[in-house]
């Protein structure tokens, strides 16, 4: 009897697929259930945000950039505002800096809660998704109370923040911090030690730290591989050097570690928020900005630590009211191009690919822009 003849075939995962978190098309070459190769096709969500920003004023760019990475729109606001402030060499009031840190960290928690939910859902546990979003709702309510929107905040502006927090914000924020801290034990209880969860996550999607750095992978994915790289510590921006927090780090670089790093980061963010709320000074929330904001000609690249890695903006100004070039950089972009590297030839199954994709926490608007 001759050898059984098998052949590889191709499967389109996406653009409409429940676990590609948006509209990403992964062209899989399959050998039975095994994934031989994966080629990501992106661009289904390309809105040319960079081009749009080129013919908007600096103030108008911020709501446009809200849509750049809408899960953590605060970071998008902030990174652009930071670039513009750096170009104009502008000082920001201290209260505004504190508020920015509070908002950024709240948003990081919100993003990681979504990660928690969607990852659990991609691996098949449907209930944690609702639990994660339930607590995210508390944060989103805080945002709405402050800036009036739940997703696209347009809150952090050039020179500060758009408006001061309402009176009831601080107690409500403390309460939310307390509740999320308590609920974390629920999250961990339902998944962390669950044998099925461990079987699905441990040892899957191993990232090599050196390769990951070379491919530009950053954020929790890199930290889970044992590289202590957190821009809040390494390249401090805003007032992060005033706060006491640890960089969450794990060493194996598999899906399970990426998951744990993010849960740890929620804890650290809660710590930062508590400190920031304690030290919140009084004062202005916005620096004086000239009538028509025109930063001097020049260029600058700023980067911040977003929940998905390094988020950066290369802002080129020609001295007019509109930026000449806004080159945005998101963590998902590099992580998605790194994805084939860790999947190719490792014999992962389609279910593993889903788990890897989920723990890379790729969102497509950040890739497609």
């Amino acid at each position: 009897m001759g050898k059984l003849r098998t052949e590889e075939f191709q499967v389109n995962m996406g653009p409409q697929h429940p676990s590609t978190h948006g509209v990403c098309r992964l062209l899989l070459t399959m050998d039975g259930e095994k994934v031989v190769d994966v080629v990501p096709h992106v661009g289904y969500l390309h809105r040319s945000i960079e081009k749009i920003c080129e013919n908007r004023t600096y103030a108008m760019c911020i709501p446009v950039l809200d849509r750049f990475e809408y899960v953590t729109a605060m970071s998008c606001n902030y990174v652009f505002a930071l670039a513009a402030e750096k170009l104009a060499e502008m000082e920001v009031p201290e209260r505004a800096e504190y508020l920015r840190v509070i908002m950024l960290e709240l948003n990081r928690i919100a993003s990681h809660l979504i990660f928690y939910g969607t990852t659990a859902m991609d691996v098949g546990a449907l209930t944690p998704f609702l639990y994660g979003l339930r607590e995210r709702e508390l944060i989103v309510d805080l945002f709405e109370m402050t800036c009036g929107q739940r997703l696209t905040y347009n809150y952090i502006r050039v020179g500060g923040v758009s408006r001061d927090i309402p009176k009831e914000f601080v107690p409500k924020c403390r309460e939310a911090v307390k509740i999320i801290g308590e609920k974390l034990s629920d999250y961990e209880g339902i998944l962390n030690e669950n044998p099925i969860w461990i079987a699905r996550m441990k040892g899957i999607g191993l990232t090599d730290p050196q390769k990951a750095i070379a491919w530009g992978v950053s954020g929790p994915v890199l930290r889970a591989a044992g590289v202590k790289h957190d821009l809040r510590k390494d390249d401090p921006y805003s007032i992060y050097n005033k706060f006491d927090f640890d960089v969450a780090i794990r060493w194996n670089g598999d899906c399970y570690d990426r998951y744990l790093v993010r849960l740890d980061e929620i804890r650290q963010s809660l710590k930062i928020i508590t400190q920031a709320l304690d030290g919140l000074p009084e004062g202005d929330v916005r620096a004086k900005v000239k009538a028509k904001f025109k930063p001097p000609a020049g260029e600058v690249y700023v980067r911040i630590e977003n929940s998905r890695g390094e988020m950066g903006v290369h802002l080129v100004s020609d001295g007019s009211t509109k930026p000449l070039r806004v080159k945005t950089r998101g963590g998902s972009f590099n992580q998605l191009q790194y994805l084939p590297e860790i999947v190719r030839g490792k014999g992962y199954l389609i279910a593993d690919l889903v788990a890897i994709f989920a723990t890379f926490d790729i969102i497509l608007p950040e890739v497609d822009r």
Partner: protein, 353 residues
């Protein structure tokens, strides 16, 4: 007649109705045909309603576990939500894809639906409340429930869709693997009951400590392994890899729409009830129980098992396909066979009650 209805045992009503029918003076063949026809229609109706109820219940359980409401719109707590859904699905366009295998594609949902109902011929719903007490009862059930696998494989192949084919193949592999531990745990019970007939099995566990789940130490092990294997047989999470929606979108039923989809969907819930009913019959004493009428006991116990399976689904992540196979062959099969040998030895030595 009033006296009959007072007894609360459904079988009395059937007996009374049958008596009325017999007194009409029809030829015995006609009496038989009419009575079987009525029973068939009744069974179909009751099971279809039961499936709709289970769908609703599942949604309610999911809702409450997730701190939502679940269906709330139609009627009290949305009680006729699933009926409305079924009617909506009936009206839906039946999307007929071009590249399908027409025959296989059409008959797969029908076979799935029919196979789901066949098992109920010999499931005792109450004392004497059984359509036909076959002396090979449990064997028959095991045989006909396997039809579902063929139906799912047909659906996967006929759809001419790679995801559907994945689903169909996974379903076949899974069902074949889990059939083994399932039968092995059932055999443990059969050794003690000494019969394949469902009625005999129930009658052999006539007190609470006679229930097979209470027979130490093999009873609980057999029960747990049966429940695990049954979850896999019914394609329920955490073993729902044939339709794993995050991997295969919807698996074998990805190309089905309208009523064909509804048939798969209802068959799934009927299967859920089937495996729970078998678990109750084999391990939890079937209809046995004090005070309440026997059919109610049966229903309560079965719904209890169904609830347990639902909680599994809403709590646990899904296993990967190779882990699923590994679990079946490397863990469940050895455990169930060891358990079977243990039970047989104890039976031989007479160490049981």
């Amino acid at each position: 007649m009033p006296l009959v209805l007072m007894s609360l045992e459904l079988i009395e009503i059937f007996r009374w109705a049958y008596g009325l029918l017999a007194e009409l003076g029809l030829p015995p063949v006609w009496v038989m045909l009419i009575s079987y026809g009525v029973i068939g229609v009744l069974m179909f109706g009751v099971l279809a309603l039961l499936a709709l109820f289970l769908v609703w219940w599942e949604r309610k359980v999911a809702g409450h576990v997730q701190q939502r409401f679940g269906p709330m719109r139609n009627g009290w707590h949305g009680w006729y939500q699933t009926i409305a859904d079924a009617i909506k699905l009936l009206q839906k366009e039946d999307v007929d894809i071009i590249a399908r295998d027409k025959f296989v594609f059409f008959w797969a949902p029908v076979l799935c639906f029919v196979a789901a109902f066949l098992a109920y011929i010999c499931i005792p719903f109450g004392k004497d409340l059984i359509v036909a007490d076959l002396n090979i009862g449990i064997l028959y059930i095991m045989a006909v429930t396997t039809f579902t696998v063929i139906a799912l494989l047909m659906a996967g192949w006929g759809s001419n869709n790679k995801y559907a084919l994945f689903g169909g193949m996974r379903s076949a592999a899974q069902a074949i693997s889990y059939e083994v531990p399932m039968v092995a745990s059932i055999l443990t019970v059969i050794i003690y009951a000494g019969s394949l007939s469902m009625v005999d099995i129930v009658q052999s566990q006539n007190s609470f400590f006679g229930w097979f789940i209470c027979r130490m130490p093999f009873g609980p092990i057999a029960f747990v392994t049966y429940i695990i294997a049954a979850t896999a047989e019914a394609n329920r999470a955490p073993f729902d890899i044939p339709e794993a929606e995050q991997e295969l979108v919807a698996g074998f039923n990805i190309e089905y729409s309208g009523m064909k989809f509804a048939m798969f969907f209802l068959a799934e819930f009927i299967n859920l009830f089937t495996v729970s009913a078998i678990a109750v019959t084999l391990f939890l004493g079937g209809w046995e129980g004090p005070w309440l009428p026997s059919w109610l006991w049966f229903l309560l116990k079965t719904l209890g098992i169904v609830f347990l399976l639902m909680m599994f689904r809403w709590t646990y992540p899904r296993l990967r396909v190779d882990q699923l196979m590994e679990f079946a062959w490397k863990f469940l099969v050895p455990v169930t066979f060891a358990n079977l040998i243990l039970a047989a030895t104890m039976k031989y030595l007479g160490w049981y009650w």
